[in-house]
């Protein structure tokens, strides 16, 4: 049929731009997401970080800098898990996935638009947090340290995208937020993102060194010169392993959904 070839398909580029813009607006207009993901790290930093900012917790490492790394890790992982988890769960709940499937939108464009949006939100979070730490917390480090911290935190967040997807497919639209909070907040505490691990109960101290956020956190702390348990290479290796695991779970959950809804 010649007509098929003549009409063809819409160009991918403009489609990706439109879709990304729509994904951005969807998240931006939900203050529960946009305000908390940008604002909460600032509030935590103001409450915990600023007061004792100038104290040295390790040789040549002031607490203000150390806690900045903690909050950078916390806020970026938070954006990844929430933006994916909640949007996937909500759209499943609204049966929006069904309509999208009937359109000529390639699924990869859809996925890519969400990744771009999430990375953008993560970058905005850092772009607000870093100056705040600079001015309010008096954090002074070499520009290369800011850059290393930002790039490590952004790259290391990929496993949490997969985790967000997995939660989005495994939980319902109303339970996704609760599930994420129940998983994310306790592991953030257990991984020492809010206060030193030495203050945690002993049994949690045993679990802590195996948590994904522990390795992710160490990438941040190492970037600002704080001592860590494992080498940076080991941290990346573990994070990659968790990434594969979360991705496998997400894929399994996605396929389970596919066979239920579309077979």
């Amino acid at each position: 049929m010649a007509a098929v070839a003549a009409v063809g398909r819409a160009p991918i580029g403009p489609m990706l731009v439109r879709q990304t813009w729509a994904e951005f607006l969807k998240l931006w207009r939900v203050p529960a997401f946009s305000a908390t993901s940008i604002g909460l790290p600032l509030i935590f930093y103001a409450f915990i970080g600023i007061g004792q900012s100038s104290q040295e917790i390790f040789p040549h490492v002031r607490f203000g800098t150390y806690f900045l790394a903690s909050m950078a890790v916390y806020s970026v992982a938070n954006v990844m898990i929430f933006s994916f988890g909640i949007s996937v769960a909500t759209e499943r709940g609204m049966k929006m996935d069904l309509l999208m499937r009937a359109t000529p939108l390639p699924p990869l464009v859809y996925l890519l638009s969400r990744c771009i949006t999430a990375i953008f939100f993560a970058a905005v979070t850092l772009a607000v947090l870093f100056p705040f730490a600079y001015f309010a917390g008096g954090v002074r480090v070499d520009p290369s340290v800011w850059a290393t911290l930002a790039s490590r935190v952004l790259l290391g967040s990929i496993p949490f995208i997969a985790l967000g997807f997995a939660i989005g497919y495994l939980s319902g639209p109303n339970s996704a937020v609760a599930v994420i909070n129940l998983i994310y907040l306790p592991t953030a505490f257990a991984s020492g993102l809010f206060f030193p691990k030495q203050l945690l109960p002993e049994f949690i101290q045993h679990i802590s060194p195996y948590l994904p956020l522990h390795f992710y956190g160490q990438l941040g702390w190492d970037a600002i010169g704080a001592p860590t348990n494992e080498s940076v290479a080991t941290d990346w290796l573990y994070l990659a392993g968790y990434g594969v695991l979360f991705f496998a779970i997400a894929l399994w959950a996605y396929r389970r959904e596919e066979s239920r809804k579309f077979s």
């Binding site: 009409v7 063809g8 729509a22 309509l99 009937a102 000529p104 579309f262 077979s263």
Partner: protein, 295 residues
């Protein structure tokens, strides 16, 4: 004529339930087709298979001669599904623009919005729309790609009479552009107003495929209704096509109402509240989908 959409001996099982028991359809470019049937007849399953949203258990579906999951086929098709959601936090124009970007030759956004009668709501968030407006937004999203074929699955479900009437006019307006329209409905007057071809599906099978006029003529021309105390047995041998008995109300379709009544009187059956009327499409539909014998 070119075949736009095609089902070839499609069957579908959900577990042990046979939703489709071998349906074959050819829908040609330019046709306006209504797929009619009671709830659970297999209408939505047929549409879902035609659109590649469901896989047939056996048989196949084709859009423009290729697989309906092929994005080239989907680029020529607009879809309105039952109860599908759209993001609440986007504005009408934003989501129309988004859907336009999926299609190779979309219509301008204002035209799609106007076809759906949403001009005044173009800058409102989706969450601010009423149920009827939301339904019209789905219509705007279905037509904004300027598709050659428009699929509508029960587009007017849940609307009041006025809403349904004006919605049917919007669909007719789109069909007038020479486009193919396939809609499912269990509202018979919709099929009668819109379609030049009606496919009746019941219990997973096509039981009729003809123009609304032919469907009407296929069944008996007159509806006879009365109150009486009788059983199916009392109606044996009467020149009727179908009959239903609920409590004391008896309804039957026939081409010879006089002969039927004469015979009933001869058998000594007491009749009250007698009504003889011409069968409309609704009657035809009931007659076609009424199952004889022990259910």
């Amino acid at each position: 004529m070119t075949v736009a959409a095609q089902l070839v001996d499609a069957t579908k099982k959900y577990g042990n339930v046979e939703a489709l028991k071998g349906v074959s359809l050819n829908i040609e470019l330019g046709e306006v087709v209504a797929i009619l049937g009671p709830n659970g007849a297999g209408k939505t399953t047929s549409i879902s298979i035609l659109l590649g949203l469901r896989k047939p258990t056996s048989g196949k579906a084709l859009l423009f001669g290729i697989s309906p999951t092929d994005l080239k086929a989907r680029s020529r098709v607009g879809v309105m599904l039952q109860e599908s959601g759209v993001p609440a936090m986007l504005k009408v124009r934003e989501i129309v623009d988004l859907f336009r970007s999926y299609y190779p030759k979309p219509m301008v956004a204002d035209r799609a919005i106007a076809m759906a009668g949403l001009e005044e709501k173009a800058n409102s968030l989706v969450k601010e729309l009423s149920g009827g407006q939301r339904q019209r937004l789905y219509f705007a999203l279905a037509v904004c790609g300027d598709p050659e074929v428009l699929f509508l699955d029960e587009p007017t479900v849940g609307m009041d009479v006025e809403g349904r009437r004006s919605f049917i006019e919007r669909i007719a307006e789109f069909a007038k552009l020479g486009r193919t329209v396939v809609l499912t409905t269990h509202y018979l007057e919709e099929a009668d107003q819109l379609a030049e071809r009606v496919i009746v599906i019941d219990r997973g099978l096509v039981i009729a495929d003809a123009s609304p006029k032919e469907i009407k003529s296929k069944v008996a021309g007159k509806r006879v209704r009365f109150s009486a105390t009788l059983t199916e047995k009392d109606l044996d041998g009467l020149p009727i096509t179908t009959s239903t008995i609920t409590d004391h109300t008896v309804q039957m379709f026939t081409n010879q109402p006089e002969a039927v009544l004469r015979e009933l009187f001869k058998r000594g059956i007491e009749i009250t509240e007698l009504e003889v009327t011409g069968a409309d499409l609704e009657d035809a539909f009931i007659a076609l989908t009424t199952h004889k014998g022990p259910a």
